[in-house]
């Protein structure tokens, strides 16, 4: 393996993006809306396509706006269909995002001459190329700044509204009675997820987003029962996944005789491995730990029954 400053930047960008996702992801997981990240990340496609067709360029700001609007609309449509149509929330989500994705595919096909708007590039991103696009002479990749900015924004919102978010996640009815609209918190969370997703798109691709919204929070949930610790552990898991994922992308394929592979896919995989470790060895929840403990209890019990004379 040949580690360069490029690789360091890739890990930094990946880690910034991963933590930016993991923070709102904790609340998605607690509110039973884990699949929303997947839905939003597919549903932003028509927003990107429309922004592209209107402006005729891949300028960042219109694309960003288009995608963010499409993301919020996904949450809104899902809510409407679920409430007014009395439809199961998961089904409503599935209908909305597949329909928007289909519209996006058709719009992109209309602009087929422009190769850069390939749906594949939207879904996988190219985290490997981020160090090439730097800001001025500083040598800092643009993607690091964008994802860092989103991370700071998410962190600030969560710190400022920590009490409200906690109440909204565990007892929306109580939040409503105390005067913090749980509806408002819901849409704020959805906007955060949409903006985070979109910011990550251009730089690192959506697969990291989907994985980081769910897997680190789920890992943290296996290790703690306190919300503040959950946020911290999820962030740590996210950083670790970015690092391990990039190392794995460089090394694992060589074991099978291939060259390196996509870092985004491997970051998702690394997060999966970390989750599996927590699942097996978590002090409170781990299945291996529980198994050993139950065996110990059996031996203790049997020694109690026949006390030594």
């Amino acid at each position: 393996m040949n580690w360069t400053s490029f690789d360091t930047w890739i890990v930094v960008v990946g880690a910034l993006c991963a933590v930016a996702c993991a923070l709102p992801g904790c609340f998605l997981v607690l509110r039973k809306m884990s699949m929303m990240g997947d839905a939003i990340s597919h549903a932003v496609l028509p927003g990107l396509a429309i922004a592209f067709l209107i402006t005729g360029s891949r300028a960042s700001i219109p694309m960003f706006l288009g995608a963010a609007i499409a993301g919020v609309l996904t949450a809104l449509f899902t809510q409407w269909i679920a409430r007014f149509g009395n439809v199961d929330r998961g089904a409503a989500m599935g209908i909305v995002f597949t329909t928007l994705f289909a519209i996006g595919l058709i719009l992109i096909r209309q602009a087929a001459d422009h190769v850069d708007l390939d749906p594949g590039c939207v879904l996988y991103g190219a985290i490997e190329l981020t160090p090439l696009d730097t800001v001025g002479q500083t040598g800092i990749p643009l993607a690091a700044l964008v994802n860092g900015g989103v991370l700071v924004a998410n962190l600030l919102i969560i710190l400022l509204l920590f009490k409200e978010f906690r109440m909204g996640a565990f007892d929306p009815a109580l939040a409503d009675t105390l005067g913090f609209s749980s509806q408002f918190l819901h849409y704020l969370l959805m906007t955060m997820v949409a903006i985070t997703t979109v910011a990550a798109f251009e730089s690192v691709g959506s697969i990291i987003v989907i994985a980081m919204l769910i897997v680190p929070p789920a890992t943290a949930l296996l290790l703690t029962r306190k919300l503040s610790w959950m946020l911290i552990i999820a962030s740590a898991t996210a950083v670790l996944s970015a690092l391990l994922g990039h190392v794995a992308a460089l090394t694992v394929p060589t074991w099978f005789g291939f060259e390196s592979t996509t870092t985004s896919g491997m970051i998702a995989f690394a997060a999966g491995v970390l989750f599996t470790l927590a699942w097996l060895f978590s002090p409170t929840e781990g299945i291996a730990v529980k198994y050993w403990r139950s065996r110990e209890e059996i031996t203790l019990e049997s020694s109690d029954k026949y006390p030594a004379e």
Binding site: D38, G85, V87, T98, A102, V215, A218, L221, P253
Partner: protein
């Protein structure tokens, strides 16, 4: 634009190439409509989402294995077998996470979806660099490639779709029991675990063949949209299943036909949009649970309640004016009536307008109102029903006379003729021999009743 003959030719399957595509897509629609209906009832619609993403590593690995054995790596049966195996691995992971941790369904699904998809993307990237084999086209599993289909592909897809439909029809009773009350099913001795696995197996089969024709993201729509649309049309199960299969089949048939006529449109996307349009129509207009019919019914009921409140208020006013004598239909000032209930001026105006349309009011000078003959009769009837119901509540339901007005208010509007006769039969003859019995409690709004 295509001519009319082209359209007819495609829709009636006269062209050999489009015939394969259209038939297989329609069959896929029928099968996924049936299987998806069970998923919807089990509140697991997004299972298809997780499952379809989980098939991707299998596609890449199967490709690599087939290349290693010296093939081109793109034989459809091999790729579908790989997809099935990794789909099953995904489902098992989901079930194990759900049963051994306190994480919920949605987290388990999201975990499998993202991790498997990540591995899939990574391994696709790896196998694309395999020497001596072109993996170009494997991505079509993500977006679908309906238009290019050879006869052997068609046979696989059509037969898997047909078998899945058949199995779901044969097991329909067991699956419905599982969807509605799995605990009861287990207590009755049904093999619920086996049934659950059979259902997920069917979902896997449908998803995997859907990969080929509509792609792994849009096959999710095939599993979710038709059953959700069908649910708006009926409260009963068998009709819902049939309708779901029909909607799925029609989406496949129309979508594939449209995209055959306009080759620049991606087939999978067109199919999804046809299904989404059918869903939208169902959600808005389906008579049983659609939005507009429901709003119309609610508006109708609201008008009925308003009318009955207005008539009873008017009758009680007349009763008060008559004192001990027989109630007669005379004119009274508009303001007096308005003050009897908490009507806003705007609402009161609308109620009067409706009453005039229904001929319950006569033409009178401004500021005064007078009920028409039919209006007076209706008012007496409404008041009578209200008091019958109040008396019944006091006698049989032990409700205090001071509270009975409000309780009766909520139910009286839906008293049918039969229920009124039943009330008459039950209540003491003397209380109802008169056309309109006196109110069993002091009437609020009467000056002397609220000291």
């Amino acid at each position: 634009m295509s001519s009319l003959e082209d359209i007819v030719e495609v829709l009636l399957l006269q062209n050999y190439n489009t015939r394969l595509v259209v038939i297989s897509t329609s069959l896929l629609g029928v099968a996924s409509g049936l299987v998806g209906a069970f998923l919807l009832l089990r509140k697991r619609s997004l299972m298809g989402d997780a499952l379809s993403h989980a098939t991707l590593p299998g596609v890449a690995i199967a490709f690599a294995v087939m290349v290693a054995w010296g093939g081109t790596g793109k034989a459809l049966p091999g790729l579908l077998l790989g997809a099935t195996l990794s789909g099953i691995a995904g489902i098992l992971t989901m079930l194990v996470i759900r049963n051994t941790t306190r994480l919920r369904d949605d987290v388990a699904m999201g975990f499998v979806l993202s991790v498997f998809f990540g591995v899939g993307i990574a391994s696709l990237q790896m196998v694309q660099n395999l020497p001596g084999a072109s993996a170009a086209g494997l991505e079509s599993f993500i977006y679908g490639k309906t238009a290019s289909m050879v006869k052997s592909d068609f046979l696989i897809i059509a037969s898997v779709a047909a078998i899945s439909s058949l199995v779901s029809i044969v097991l329909v009773k067991e699956f419905l029991l599982l969807c509605f009350d799995d605990a009861y099913a287990a207590a009755q001795g049904w093999p619920t675990l086996f049934l659950d696995i059979a259902l997920l197996g069917l979902v896997t089969a449908v998803t995997v063949i859907g990969l080929q024709s509509v792609g792994l993201i849009l096959v999710i729509a095939f599993l979710i949209t038709p059953p959700t649309a069908a649910r708006f049309w009926t409260h009963r199960l068998q009709p819902m299943l049939v309708l779901s299969a029909v909607i799925g089949g029609v989406s496949g048939w129309l979508g594939a036909s449209i995209s055959a006529l306009t080759p620049q449109l991606p087939a999978g996307a067109v199919i999804v949009l046809v299904a989404a349009s059918l869903f939208l129509i169902s959600m808005l207009f389906a008579p049983t649970r659609g939005l507009f019919p429901r709003f119309l019914r609610q508006g109708h009921l609201r008008r009925k309640v308003d009318r009955q409140h207005f008539l009873r208020a008017a009758y009680e006013l007349l009763e008060e004016q008559a004192g001990e004598k027989e109630v007669r239909n005379v004119s009274f000032p508009e303001a007096t009536l308005r003050d009897r209930r908490t009507w806003t001026p705007h609402r009161f105006k609308r109620i009067l307008k409706i009453a005039r349309q229904e001929d319950h009011l006569e033409e009178t000078p401004a500021g005064r109102l007078r009920l028409s003959e039919p209006g007076f009769g209706e008012a007496a009837r409404v008041t009578r029903n209200h008091r019958l119901w109040e008396t019944y509540l006091i006698e049989y339901a032990d409700i205090a006379p001071s509270h009975v007005d409000r309780d009766a208010d909520m139910v009286e509007h839906i008293l049918g003729a039969e229920l009124v006769r039943e009330l008459e039969r039950r209540l003491d003859e003397t209380k109802i021999s008169v056309p309109v019995p006196p109110s069993p409690h002091p009437i609020a709004g009467k000056p002397e009743a609220t000291p």
